[in-house]
Symmetry: D2
Subunit: 147 residues, 4 copies
C-alpha cells in the first residue's frame, strides 16, 4: 500500500535534503509497547520548524510584531513499520509544492537501519494576523522553499 | 477546500451517530494561543477507542491473552476552524468502510456552536500477534461496525 | 510512606470539596502498561484551572488585557497505586494555604473504588505582567480560596 | 526561595557529572507563550533513563523477561526561570542518595547562558514483577550509582 502523495517511492525518498534527529522517549510509547501513533505529528512539527529556520522563513512567524503566521491546513501520516522506545530516527522534510500562499510539506522518517518507518505530508498557509486571510509568498520566499 | 474523503459534506456529517465529549486542556494549547495541531490525533484515538468499546469490539484488543490487536495504518486531519483553550468539543466517529481485515474510520469535531472545527480519517487493521498479518473480521464483527 | 505535605491522611483527604473527573487515555499509558508518570501533572493543571474557574479567580488570567497571570512555582506528585488505561479518576483540588501573593494547592486522585492513587501539591504565584513581581491577593480573592 | 532538597546550591550544582541535551519543542509551549509546566517531568524521565543506560542499569528493566522494573515513587520540580520555545537546555541527573531498593534522583536544567531554569528530584524503587515488592540493589548496582 502506497501513500497517495508518493508517486515513485525511490525518487520521492531521494529528493529529501534536510533532516533532524529524534530519539524516541519513554513517555512517547504506549501500552502496546511501541511509539504511540499520535507522536509522529509532534516529530513532524519539530522537523518542519527546523526546516523553516534552516531556509530562513521562520523568523517573522515567531516575532510577536510580525504581521503573518503559519497555519497548518491539514496533516497526514502513513505508518510503515513499528517504532520502539529509544530508536534513533531521522525526520526528513521537504517542500513538495509551493502554492500562492501555501506550501505542501512532505515528511519521511527513517530508523538507524535506513528503513522508512513512517511518511507524511501536510499543507501550511501563511495567514495575515489582521486579515485572517492567506498572504502570498514573495518571490524570494518561493525560491527559499525550493533550493 | 474540502477533504478528499468527504463527498457531500451535509450527508457525511449527518451520518455520524456516536460522539464523545472533550474539553480542551491548557497543556494542549501552544504559544500561538490555540489548540496545538498535534492534539486532534489524541482526541481521535480517544474517540475511536470509545467507539470500539461501544460496538463491543475493543475487548479482545486489551486482553493480554487476546490473539489480535489493532494497528493504525494511516491518519489524517483537516483543520477547519481554530480551537481555543476550554472549548467543549464533540468528537464524532464512524466506520465509513469495512475491508477484509481493516476498517476506514472517519472523525468530525464540532464546537458548542455546532461548527465543524476539524475532520479526519484513518484506517485500522486487525493484526494477529503471532503472524503479524491481517486477521479478517468475522461476519459478526463486520455487522457491528455498520449498525 | 507518607508525603511531607500530609499531616493526618484522613483529615487531609476529607477536607477536599471540589473535584473533576478524568478518564485515562490510551496515549497517556506507556510501554510498562500503566499511566505514564508525567501525566498526573497534566491532570493537576486541568483540575487546578477548573478549581480557579469554580471560585471565579481564573477570569483575569485568561484575559489578554488582564494585568496579572499565575506562575507555577513548584509541583510535586506522590504515586500511591498504579493507574491503568480507561480508569475513571476524580482529581480533587483545594487551597491548603494562602500566602501574600501565592497559594499552596493540594491534589488527590481517587479511582472508582475510592482508593487514593496519587497525591500532590504545588504553589502558584500571581505575577504582574509589567513588573514580573508578585501581586498580593485582595481580601476578596483570599476569601474565595478558603470557602 | 530554595528547594528543600538543596542544601548548598553551588555544591549541589557542581556535583552533577551527567547531562543530556534537550531542545524545547513548539508543541511543548502553551498559550502563556512559555514551556508548559508539565513538560519538565518528560525531560526528567528522558534524562533519568539516559543516566540509567550510561551507568548500565537500564538493561534489565527494558527486557520483557527481566524480573524487576523501576517504579517512580515521587517526583517534584521547582521552576526557577521561564523557558521559551527553541531554548537549548542541558538536563543534569545524579543519584543523590541510594537506599536499600530505592534511589533518590536529582535533576537540574540549565539554559545556554548557564542559568538554572528548573531543578527537581524524585525517588525510584526497583520492584519485583512477581512479588510487587522492593528488590534490594546488589553491591555492584549500588556502586554504579555513585561513580
Amino acid at each position: 500500500m502506497k501513500a497517495s502523495y508518493i508517486n515513485d517511492l525511490s525518487t520521492w525518498a531521494s529528493d529529501f535534503k534536510f533532516s533532524v534527529p529524534v530519539s524516541v522517549r519513554f513517555s512517547e510509547t504506549d501500552m502496546y509497547g511501541h511509539l504511540n501513533n499520535t507522536i509522529p505529528f509532534i516529530y513532524f512539527e519539530h522537523a518542519r520548524i527546523e526546516f523553516m529556520k534552516e531556509i530562513k522563513l521562520m523568523g517573522n512567524w515567531l516575532d510577536p510584531k510580525g504581521e503573518t503566521f503559519p497555519v497548518v491546513a491539514d496533516l497526514q501520516c502513513d505508518f510503515v513499520k513499528q517504532v520502539f522506545f529509544d530508536e534513533k530516527l531521522a525526520i526528513f522534510v521537504k517542500a513538495a509544492a509551493v502554492g500562492n500562499s501555501s506550501v505542501d510539506i512532505h515528511y519521511m522518517a527513517k530508523n538507524n537501519e535506513g528503513d522508512i518507518v513512517f511518511t507524511g505530508r501536510g499543507s501550511m498557509v501563511q495567514i495575515g494576523k489582521k486579515t485572517g486571510k492567506g498572504v502570498p509568498w514573495t518571490e524570494v520566499e518561493r525560491s527559499l522553499f525550493v533550493n
